[in-house]
């Protein structure tokens, strides 16, 4: 069998094309890394209605909750900058001892609980977050909860729409009071005993 120059030329270019198609195939498969996770499509039976009503209704609905939570936790929030920073004085701060779960209080999955261990909880639209929130307002890597010296801290990871603790936007890592509302996009949650 003798192979002509032309066949070899075609095969050579074909091989390079194949190699590059493989690479672009991989890049296409990881497009969510480059452009962020897709916004969720509501998959349950009530989906179309909820999806249509979602942006308009969910945000105002969440406001009274946040406001109420602010009123509820205000004394605690004011108490901690006042200087009684000893662990004993902070009965209100969520620590690894007094906190066992994260409870979703509003949003599509209100009422759901999530057990807390000693690990950092990452929040975002990316599928490798511990708490995946797939709505229009959540960034791919939005925020995280972590234990610093046994206390739960909330850190915003430069999210587009912000992370709100008891109604005010979080800019630096902040201690989370027990039962205070953390709001990310259309979802709010609390840390509870």
């Amino acid at each position: 069998m003798n192979v002509s120059e032309l066949t070899l030329l075609v095969l050579r270019i074909g091989f390079l094309l194949l190699l590059w198609m493989f690479i672009f195939g991989i890049v296409y498969a990881l497009r969510s890394d480059l452009f962020g996770q897709r916004v969720r499509k509501m998959q349950t039976d009530a989906a179309p209605v909820a999806a249509a009503a979602f942006p308009a209704s969910a945000v105002p609905a969440a406001v009274p909750v946040a406001a109420a939570a602010e009123a509820f936790t205000a004394p605690v929030a004011r108490a901690s900058p006042a200087g009684q920073d000893t662990p004993a004085a902070q009965a209100g701060t969520a620590t690894s001892q007094n906190t066992t779960r994260l409870v979703i209080t509003s949003g599509p999955k209100a009422g759901t609980e999530f057990p807390l261990g000693a690990d950092t909880i990452t929040i975002g639209r990316s599928s490798d977050s511990s708490l995946v929130i797939r709505d229009d307002y959540t960034s791919t890597h939005h925020a995280r909860l972590m234990l610093w010296h046994d206390e739960w801290m909330l850190q915003d990871l430069d999210s587009t729409n912000g992370t709100f603790l008891a109604g005010s936007r979080v800019t630096v890592p902040t201690k989370i009071p027990l039962n205070a509302t953390v709001k990310i996009g259309a979802t709010s949650f609390e840390l509870r005993r």
């Binding site: 070899l8 194949l18 190699l19 009530a46 999955k109 209100a110 009422g111 999530f114 599928s127």
Partner: protein, 464 residues
């Protein structure tokens, strides 16, 4: 509005999803299988093209070369389906393509050198691949959670240092072209323990820095906007610096020293977030290398070959730049699209199948092919960084980034050396180059990254 929120409350599900993993389709694994089949096709077609180009005919007995690797990587895929269902789906196909292209190139050099049977480096490379993938499977089966490694931090450090200096033991070590980084294992061949040492040291650095980073990151004086560490906190970096300098002096291997020191520096930077460590470390290494280039003949020679490569006197000198310049000529001959598999003359360059495999590939696949290979490395390393970024525990984060960075730095050192960006130092191109120890080490790195990515995705999680 109220009714809607009530309705959503009614739809709320219990916290822990019922266990139904058995029925879930393994999306990631299916994607991996799809990419793996393309990878095997690429590997098979590169062997076929080598035969068409170099022999002008198909030799069916040696198509087994490609088939052997395909069976191996698919068996690794099957193991992943059982022990790491959520592992990253891209690492295995990328590593397979690199390994397969490497075998095809080595086979092509064998044809030029008219080697066959057990003398053939390609057959030996395939056997080493089998061993390496077997090691990767063992790692996946034994290490079910990467945090186990955290317990063995100091043992890993000890093993790393011992492996690093094993070639200096008289009777065991073996000197190959000046560098004393090999040990001979009976009649079986030679082994480069330093390759395995890089994994052990990555584990050690990760564990050590997670335990001790506070004292390295918190205190110190501020000079020119960067916080510099206190003098007494310089201990660790000086120890690692002394270690890599002794590699340069006693083992006469510049590349290995740079690899370990760079690894430590990057992990230190990650753990502390302070640029001053990088400035300090680079200053230390450059100072050391500069002194070495003045006092040690072989380092000085490397620098001359690099800076004055095209000078006829340097080109013709014993241990001069002949190899480097031949590699560059090969790359130039390749041009944009290359000469095609089996139609160039990469065998003119000394050691075209190990240190200079990139020049050989550049000649036959051209710039387009070299960039494809670099893109594959880029994707591999990016996956490692990504796993580190998504990780929930600090040890796992540091380990993933450290392992990925070691691959990246090794590529830079060897490809940069071949293309005359930095002085040439002998290291193997990960997955591509002929060399058993390098293959084993890199497949173990791939296995560890797969295990880490599976742990990251397997954290308890909630999807809203």
């Amino acid at each position: 509005m109220q009714s809607l929120s009530k309705a959503s409350a009614l739809r709320a599900r219990p916290a822990t999803e019922p266990v139904r993993r058995l029925h879930l389709p393994q999306k990631l694994r299916n994607l991996e299988l799809f990419l793996l089949l393309i990878a095997c096709f690429i590997n098979a077609s590169s062997v076929v093209l080598v035969q068409l180009g170099a022999l002008g005919e198909l030799d069916p007995t040696l198509v087994l070369l490609g088939a052997g690797l395909s069976v191996l990587v698919i068996s690794l895929h099957v193991v992943l389906r059982f022990v790491a269902r959520d592992a990253d789906p891209f690492i295995l196909p990328i590593a397979s393509v690199l390994n397969g292209i490497g075998i095809a190139m080595i086979y092509r050099i064998d044809i030029a050198d008219q080697e066959s049977g057990w003398q053939s480096a390609a057959v030996r490379q395939t056997v080493w691949s089998a061993l390496a993938i077997f090691c990767a499977i063992v790692v996946l089966l034994v290490i079910r959670n990467h945090r186990v490694l955290f317990r063995y931090t100091y043992i890993a450090g000890l093993i790393g240092v011992l492996l690093l200096f094993l070639p200096l033991v008289p009777g065991l070590g073996k000197e190959v072209s000046g560098a004393r980084v090999w040990i001979s294992v009976g009649s079986f061949g030679t082994f480069q323990p330093g390759e395995i040492a890089k994994i052990a040291l990555a584990v050690f650095f990760a564990g050590y820095l997670v335990r001790n980073r506070d004292s390295l990151s918190m205190v110190g004086k501020k000079i020119l906007g960067a916080r510099f560490p206190r003098f007494r906190d310089l201990g660790p970096i000086l120890v690692v610096w002394a270690l890599s300098m002794s590699v340069i002096i006693f083992q006469r291997d510049l590349g290995t020293a740079l690899l370990y020191f760079g690894l430590f520096l990057v992990m230190l930077y990650l753990a502390t977030g302070r640029l001053s460590w990088v400035i300090l470390g680079m200053g230390l290494f450059l100072g050391g290398a500069l002194i070495a280039s003045q006092t040690l003949d072989y380092v000085n020679g490397r620098f001359t070959n690099w800076l004055d490569a095209l000078n006829p006197a340097v080109y013709d000198a014993d241990g001069g730049s002949f190899q480097l310049v031949q590699g560059l000529f090969g790359l130039a001959k390749g041009g944009l699209l290359g000469t095609g598999w089996g139609q160039g003359r990469p065998e003119i360059t000394p050691v075209p199948q190990s240190d200079y495999i990139i020049a050989s590939l550049g000649e036959e696949l051209g710039l387009a092919g070299i960039f494809a290979i670099l893109a594959l490395y880029l994707l591999f390393v990016a996956r490692g960084f990504r796993i580190g970024f998504a990780g929930q525990d600090d040890f796992g984060k540091l380990l993933a980034v450290g392992l990925a960075f070691v691959v990246a730095l090794q590529c830079f050192i060897v490809i940069g050396g071949v293309t005359r960006v930095i002085p040439l130092t002998g290291l193997t191109t990960p997955f591509l180059a002929a060399g058993g120890s390098s293959l084993v080490a890199n497949w173990i790195i791939a296995a560890l990254l797969l295990r880490l990515s599976d742990t990251v995705r397997n954290q308890p999680r909630l999807v809203v």
